[in-house]
Subunit: 353 residues, 3 copies
């Protein structure tokens, strides 16, 4: 279950070069995402109205997206502008187009009712004081203040909400991320979970000092540091995880942090696209901090990928379609998950079917 | 959707050697096609009536087709003639047999009501004047007048009618066959599409001279040639495409041609067998014409195979079972397709269900 | 169709080392079979009640089976004894456990109603006089009197009853086992098929002398031997096949034999686990008899595996779910099969649904 009237990240900007075409499935809808010769992104339903050939197998010409079977050509608003075998263009010769935006290094797509897209801004988080340096996503492209690892895409054979669950309950770290982020301290730490409107916020002040591995990743030397983790979620799958470190007893403004942009887009009901960027504040050591965080993230997210794939495969073999209705056991650690899933369910119910 | 009371090509003659067995699915029916020791082709339902073991996994003995599990043996009319573990042969010990004929280098099979097969001749086209040299299929085996490339079989993961569509609308050539038959001239050329009884005829007089590539394939030297293409279709998937070339302004009788036998047999609702032969008139250059046309055809049909596979995969992922009911846009170039599909639909409706 | 209130072999003892976990599906039920630190086998439904993660992907700790996602830990009776992220353990924190027993080199599992397991002994056959040396399964572990090849497990993509059928009608040997056990003599030999309670017994006195291949397997020298085959079946898939050989005209007590333990456990409706042991009486030639029988069996059972896979694939493509209702032809050689299938059907019907 996913809402359709939302901006979803469909691709990393670099996945679609000029005149390139990318076949992608977003919310169970196959789309041909392409760029015109002048670089503008566009997205059409991946199906020529003539013989239903996938438009993503065609090519981009000066006129538009040309079907690879009989050469019908469409502009980015879905109008047919050329039929090679005849001069007349019937009124029915059009294909559904989707609103797209390009921002923060991503191509965003609106799979729902197009009219609503215009008045809906891209997801954003309130930029608060202190550590929340750049929750407006500037961290993703601003390589002056930030060392940016990514963006990267991971294809995960799991329902997108299982990935959201994973990020909204970090008590899995001591078990799943034993060899990477491993943070036993997350278990005993106090968590503050709140929501503001449709967004959920989860704060964990670690009860133990920053681990040697992360101290090295930040390139912070030997001083003892406090550290914390804050998670911001906007429906349905847009998240920023901020990990921060300060000298023991110090104030946030003097510390450092990593902002992890994690955006999850449904593909089918049992698979999704996971886009991530890790931005390291000040990027110490001539890029060593950025590279170390990048490597650590790649390893850790591969652990998550395996875990989520195993989980989805188990749901599927037990015939469980939706985890919501089948959970026998809800723990305190699931509080943010429960809140987020209710918000998504409400959004889905509010849409016309 | 396919009619069952029809002769279908099930195999190339050479696919079934003496005492050989071929497992093949024709019209969703698994059959064991085999030859007795004396070379006669036969076809039985691929299922022993005893424990439902596939008869195609057995062997041909002097007595008949012997099941590989418990050795029950059947003659080509489906009667059981041996049960190794007991002397008695129950009346229920029989398996469905199918009428078969061998002609034009193919084994033809009748998947429908057997009684109707006897009175139904194999498909044939009227042999007209001029270029239609050999529309009685003699071109396939007569290697005196003809240089014969093939027969070959291509397995295509597409409904057989999508392949028929492909051959009944050659305006795809400039897009699909850019690197082979590429013939932009097909787009602007006048087409004459007619039907006679259950057969459809599509004639295209090319508006441009014969291309250098085809001139070379025919081994015709440098003179400018006119050229044309005529397509003959008999339901459900028997076709001859004749490409002809004459000296500019010359008459057909003095020209040359290639007869392309294209026979498409349904396997499942989303796959088919595509049999082809290309026969080149007079076969110039000691077989060079034949070999050049053979190579060109192999390359071009691989382009068709990819196109048709992509099209079927797109139909399947959009949940479209039958293209007929789901086409939003019919072009003038689809006229022969529309006629052929109506004829097939009428034949299907006329059969008992 | 399989009865659930039965002891099934789920694993070879050696497949589950101490603290090891084995993911296995028995009767369409995924289970995590593991051993505690002290070696006791246990089996839990392979699904953590929290987020439905497969418990088989976790690890065995001193406390129990720990889930690999959030660390919830369960004892072998299914009680949760640890939730790392909180001190309280809710009453709903439990997972279904299955009765298990370890005997004869196997781990047996009861997939049905647990209360009935306690009062139901493991399957056994009556130990008669003469050749039936060890039908109490002692042959499997007693390596004093017996040379033991196996236990081994074969995964077969076929319904378990097709494997039972195969063993209850050995007239397939001349066709399937041409290159191994090949015994044309089985066809003309008299068979005595009886049942006692829920067990079926099939006796074949071979009408020809012991073949050179088997004489060599037994390491019996050149004397002419009589030989026979007796098959004992207990529902649903527990079998012992005894092949015996005596000097021509001699008495059983002076002869030799091989006891083949064959146990078939349903996995899904179209796949099963086939466990086997071959125990050779007196194991002549310093283990040569045992090794020769082991090799012969491995080859022959690979022939059966291919046959059964072909048969199931054919049932599936013809849409036949259950061979019982679809057999057009029953032979005399099927008598034991018919008896066994009736007994299994009666057991299935007797269970609550």
């Amino acid at each position: 279950m996913f809402p359709r009237n939302c901006w979803y990240v469909a691709a990393i900007s670099g996945e679609v070069p000029n005149r390139g075409i990318l076949a992608r499935v977003v919310c169970e809808t196959p789309v041909a995402i392409y760029r015109t010769a002048n670089g503008a992104p566009a997205a059409l339903l991946d199906r020529c109205p003539h013989r239903l050939y996938p438009l993503s197998k065609g090519e981009v010409t000066d006129k538009g997206l040309q079907c690879g079977y009989h050469g019908l050509t469409f502009t980015s608003d879905g109008r047919c502008v050329a039929i090679p075998s005849q001069p007349e263009i019937p009124a029915t010769a059009c294909v559904r187009s989707f609103p797209v935006r390009e921002a923060h290094g991503f191509i965003w797509l609106w799979p729902g009712e197009a009219a609503l897209a215009e008045t809906t801004p891209l997801p954003a988080f309130p930029t608060g004081a202190g550590y929340r340096r750049g929750l407006d996503f500037s961290c993703v492209t601003d390589t002056g203040n930030w060392g940016v690892a990514g963006p990267e895409r991971i294809h995960i054979d799991a329902n997108y909400m299982l990935v959201v669950d994973n990020l909204l309950d970090l008590t899995h770290a001591p078990f799943v991320h034993k060899s990477t982020f491993s943070a036993d301290s997350v278990l005993a730490s106090e968590r503050i979970i709140t929501n503001a409107g449709d967004q959920v916020y989860d704060f964990i002040a670690m009860q133990a000092p920053l681990s040697p591995a992360l101290q090295n990743a930040y390139q912070l030397g030997d001083d003892i540091h406090d550290n914390f983790l804050e998670t911001h979620w906007a429906p349905p799958g847009v998240m920023i995880l901020a990990h921060g470190a300060t000298l023991k007893g110090g104030v946030r403004e003097d510390g450092t942090c990593v902002l992890g942009v994690n955006i999850i887009t449904p593909e089918t009901s049992t698979s999704c696209h996971y886009f991530w960027v890790q931005s390291v504040w000040q990027n110490k050591g001539n890029g060593i901090a950025r590279d170390t965080w990048g490597k650590l993230t790649r390893l850790a997210f591969a652990e998550d990928e395996a875990t989520l794939r195993n989980q989805q495969a188990n749901l599927s073999r037990f015939g469980v379609e939706d985890l919501d209705g089948d959970v026998e056991l809800v723990l305190k650690a699931d509080r943010a998950i429960v809140m987020a899933r209710r918000i998504v369910a409400r959004k889905v119910r509010a849409e016309p079917r």
